[in-house]
């Protein structure tokens, strides 16, 4: 198990409300999204698979290339593929109020 954290300083406005998707089951992950109060975005990932920090970084980078709100994201991962992670991030973002 490995814990990774990423911060993204530039953000427009905090997200409205919270979003929760997924499950910590085989090949899946759960994502909790909440407003961030310090104007930046923060991501904490707990993953069951060690040594994939670089791939996580690029998946989360890509998400924040299209999403600029101040959000606190917590991810509990159970071996999801990068595609699955991207889909779940998109699903959670859709659940947030505009």
């Amino acid at each position: 198990m490995e814990v990774l954290t990423y911060d993204y300083p530039a953000a427009s406005a905090p997200v409205n409300g919270r979003a929760y998707v997924g499950v910590v089951g085989s090949g899946d992950l759960e994502i909790l999204m909440e407003p961030s109060t310090d104007g930046a975005a923060h991501v904490t990932i707990t993953t069951s698979v060690d040594g994939y920090g670089a791939i996580w970084r690029s998946v989360v980078d890509r998400f924040f290339s299209r999403f600029d709100r101040a959000v606190r994201i917590e991810i509990n991962d159970f071996g999801a593929t990068p595609g699955m992670v991207a889909l779940r991030l998109g699903q959670a973002a859709e659940q947030l109020a505009p």
Binding site: M1, Y20, V24, G25, E30, S48, E74
Partner: protein, 290 residues
């Protein structure tokens, strides 16, 4: 003998809303009256297992159990639902305590004169081995809470599948006033893999699905009186069966109160002549002991 499915059968199958395919929270919401569900101790409360990360295992933010308050037929209700995809629905210290605590609070409601209908959606392999005795302790608390609640309201259990219900939690299911299952469900103390591992493949071939379901599947459990209502995997049908159980109220003695009848069953059974599933249905069939 199965007849070829008709076009109506396909229509019915497509119109049906599968309960098995739903996650824990959606299952619980499907049982409650529409629009009444409210989550207690949800993911954002972060009541996670303190023991899993110490063993290098990713925890889940609600420890795999969803507790919902709401209404069933307009009456206050509590549904505890187990998420089978997280750690096989296993009962850890936190997930088990959430169920036990919810049942204990339901009992308090009854004693205060505010009757609340308790439902447990079982989908669990039993105790979470990584949390050992702490998991077993909370399962015992769940058992005690079900027994304490039973005189006040029917405690309704549902085993939908596909994991089924095993170990200490199968005892919890056995303690319920009314148990509902689908044909896909399995209910038993030891899972088939455990029996094969401990007693050998000659004793039980865990890969023989037909055999397994003929022994511990929902239909067999219903035919031998361990399950009260057998329903198709349909969220509406299951919600309806739950409503019917509450409408019937506290009536006949629970299975675990019929001690003499079950002792007589066991006394009449000859282990030297193991019975096949059909013989079990004949000797332990409905109307015998229960």
């Amino acid at each position: 003998m199965t007849l070829a499915p008709s076009p109506q059968d396909f229509e019915r199958f497509l119109a049906r809303k599968s309960f098995i395919e739903l996650g824990a929270a959606d299952r619980a919401a499907a049982i409650l009256d529409p629009g009444t569900a409210r989550v207690l101790l949800g993911p954002f409360d972060r009541l996670t297992s303190p023991w899993l990360p110490l063993q290098g295992i990713t925890p889940q933010s609600d420890d795999g159990v969803t507790i919902l308050r709401g209404q069933i037929d307009g009456a206050p209700a509590m549904v505890a639902s187990i998420e089978s995809r997280f750690q096989g629905g296993s009962m850890g210290e936190v997930s088990g305590a959430k169920i036990a605590g919810a049942l204990e609070l339901t009992l308090k409601d009854h004693l205060k004169g505010a009757p609340t209908r308790p439902v447990i959606l079982f989908e669990t392999g039993g105790v979470r081995l990584q949390e050992a005795n702490l998991g077993l302790a909370v399962i015992a608390e769940i058992h005690a809470a079900i027994v304490a609640l039973r005189p006040h309201a029917p405690v309704v259990g549902v085993v939908a599948g596909l994991v089924g219900c095993f170990g200490g939690m199968s005892l919890a299911a056995g303690l319920c006033s009314h148990l509902i299952a689908t044909p896909q469900a399995r209910l038993g103390m030891n899972g088939p893999e455990v029996i094969e591992q401990e007693a050998g493949v000659a004793e039980l071939d865990a890969s023989d699905r037909r055999l397994i379901w003929s022994l511990i599947g929902g239909a067999q459990r219903a035919a031998t009186g361990f399950v009260d209502t057998l329903v198709e995997d349909d969220a509406d049908a299951i919600a309806q069966a739950v409503r019917a159980a509450f409408a019937a109220g506290v009536g006949a003695p629970a299975r675990t109160e019929q001690v003499e009848a079950y002792l007589a069953r066991i006394a009449a059974y000859d282990p030297a002549q193991p019975a096949d599933p059909l013989a079990m249905r004949r000797t332990w069939g409905e109307g015998e002991a229960a």
